[in-house]
C-alpha cells in the first residue's frame, strides 16, 4: 500500500510518500503507526506523540482503530491548520 506524509510528519520522516508491505499482524492504523515507529529514528521522531497524529484512508479521516485491509492509500499528518 501507499503511504503519504504531510507537513512536519513529512519533514521528520524525510520523504513525502513510499510503498510499504507491512506484516499481516499489522491490522489497524494504530498498529501501523507502531510498526512504522520501529523502522528507524526518523519514524520514531515523527510518531513520538502518536495522539496528535491524524490519519486518512483513501481520502477519508479515520481513527487509530480503523482496519487497514484493502486500503490503497494511507496518509499521516498533524492536526489541520487551513482556512
Amino acid at each position: 500500500m501507499k503511504l503519504l506524509y504531510f507537513a512536519w510528519v513529512r519533514e521528520r520522516i524525510g520523504k513525502p510518500e513510499e510503498e510499504i508491505d507491512p506484516p499481516a499482524s499489522v491490522r489497524t492504523v494504530g498498529e501501523l503507526v507502531a510498526w512504522l515507529s520501529g523502522r528507524g529514528e526518523e519514524y520514531a521522531y515523527a510518531f513520538e506523540n502518536a495522539k496528535v497524529i491524524r490519519a486518512a484512508i483513501d481520502h477519508t479521516h479515520v481513527k487509530p482503530d480503523a482496519a487497514i485491509a484493502g486500503a490503497r492509500e494511507i496518509a499521516f499528518f498533524p492536526p489541520m491548520t487551513g482556512g
Binding site: L4, F6, A7, R54, A75, F77, M80, T81, G82, G83
Partner: protein, 158 residues
Amino acid sequence: MVRLQREDFDIGAEIARLTHGRTDIGAVATFTGICRASNEGEAVAAMTLEHYPGMAEAEIARHVEEAQSRWPLLGVTVIHRYGRLVPGENVVLVVTTSSHREAAFAAAEFLMDYLKVSAPFWKKEERAGGGEWVAARNTDTAAAGRWTGPDRKPEAAE
C-alpha cells in the same frame, strides 16, 4: 463548486458566477480569509500552505453537501489557495447564496468552521527564527463542535 488553486481569486467575479441571470437569490454571504503579518505576537513574513491533493477537494465537497442538506442554499463556492502567500493576500473564499440571509450566513460559517479542522491543509509560517508549522487551535475545534448534534460527529474533533 470547490476549487483549489495557487492563484488569487476575484470575489466579485465569484459572486457574479453564482448570481448572474437569477432572480430567486435574495442573499449572498461571503467570507474571505486573508494572510496576516503577525501570529501569536510574532512577525510573519509569509506562509506556505501545503495540502493533500484529492483529499482536500473531497473533504470540502463532503461539507458542502452537508451544508446543502442543512440549509436551503441556492449555490456554494469554496476556493482555497495553496503555495506561498504573503501578508495581505487572500487565502480562502466561501460564497453561499440563498433566498434569505439566515441560511447564507449560517452555511458560510459552518463551512469555514469545518474547513479549519477537517480540510487537509497545513500552514508553515516564515518567522524571524525560521520556518514554523502553525499549531492547531483548540478554539477552532470548539467552533466546529458547535454544529454537532446528537447524531453528528465532526471527524476531526477530539
